[in-house]
Subunit: 159 residues, 2 copies
């Protein structure tokens, strides 16, 4: 199966998570008007027994076409990816259909955009298209495994 | 008063907060070995009645020399700055001396580094040296004002 990656929009991504960027007007200005604050843009959910943590991920670049053989989800918490670089990355997601990933969608972020996957959202691995591959990740710190993987019946190619 | 900004190191910054970067070995590898996870690197503290949130800040560039007339602190929570760009930024901090900021220090981050100010750390305003001025900020969402400002008796110039 082959799908085309589309530019990321908040509307298209809404069933899966939040787009974290500086679109629209800031909620308020700080620092004598020299800095805009786009306030509290992620639906963070770390469930019972979890707390927020910040980790750093460093991934190899994964240029297109990107071939997926499995997707994963985190049943116990949301997970936000914030690129510490100027380049976009690939985001592949799928709706849940009775515990299995349904029809996948793929998006490419714009520079300066992050995403927050809502708790339990099926997604592909972190896929920087180019650049240093560094991300800050805000996700659940806790004692559970918090990982489900699903091996796809048919390989998915994102182009 | 004039001080020189030095390259940021975890040791020098330890009294004030955490350096968030991919230095050293990852705590573990994920994605079939293609991505390193530097796990849970920030001491997050949102106090009673607070929760974690992710906001986006967009600041004007503030090239050196940088002139500070005030510093601020957030008594109710930690605050992390994660640059959504490839450039370093200026971090000015001061120790607390009986409720007032003491001798200040200034640091310049490397590309791909963020910082987390510990709860109550005196610091200057967000100061990207160049680039898009975009940051993801992980700080306390809550009902308190969570802001103290201190106007410096003598202007501080960081060069």
């Amino acid at each position: 199966m082959r799908i085309k990656a589309e530019p990321l929009t908040a509307a298209a991504f809404a069933p899966f998570g939040d787009v974290l960027d500086a679109s629209g007007q800031p909620d308020r200005f700080i620092n004598e008007g020299r800095c805009g604050r786009y306030h509290d843009r992620a639906h963070l959910d770390f469930g019972p027994g979890g707390r927020a943590g910040i980790s750093i991920f460093r991934s190899e670049p994964r240029p297109l076409p990107h071939v997926l053989e499995l997707v994963e989800r985190h049943p116990d918490g949301s997970q936000a990816f914030l690129p510490l670089d100027r380049y976009g990355f690939l985001v592949t997601v799928a709706r849940d259909e009775n515990g299995r990933p349904g029809g996948p969608l793929a998006f490419v972020t714009a520079p300066g955009q992050g995403v927050n996957f809502h708790r339990g959202t099926w997604h592909g691995v972190l896929a920087p298209l180019r650049g240093n591959g560094l991300f800050a990740v805000v996700d659940r710190i806790g004692d559970t495994r918090n990982l489900e993987e699903f091996r796809l019946e048919r390989t998915l190619t994102v182009y």
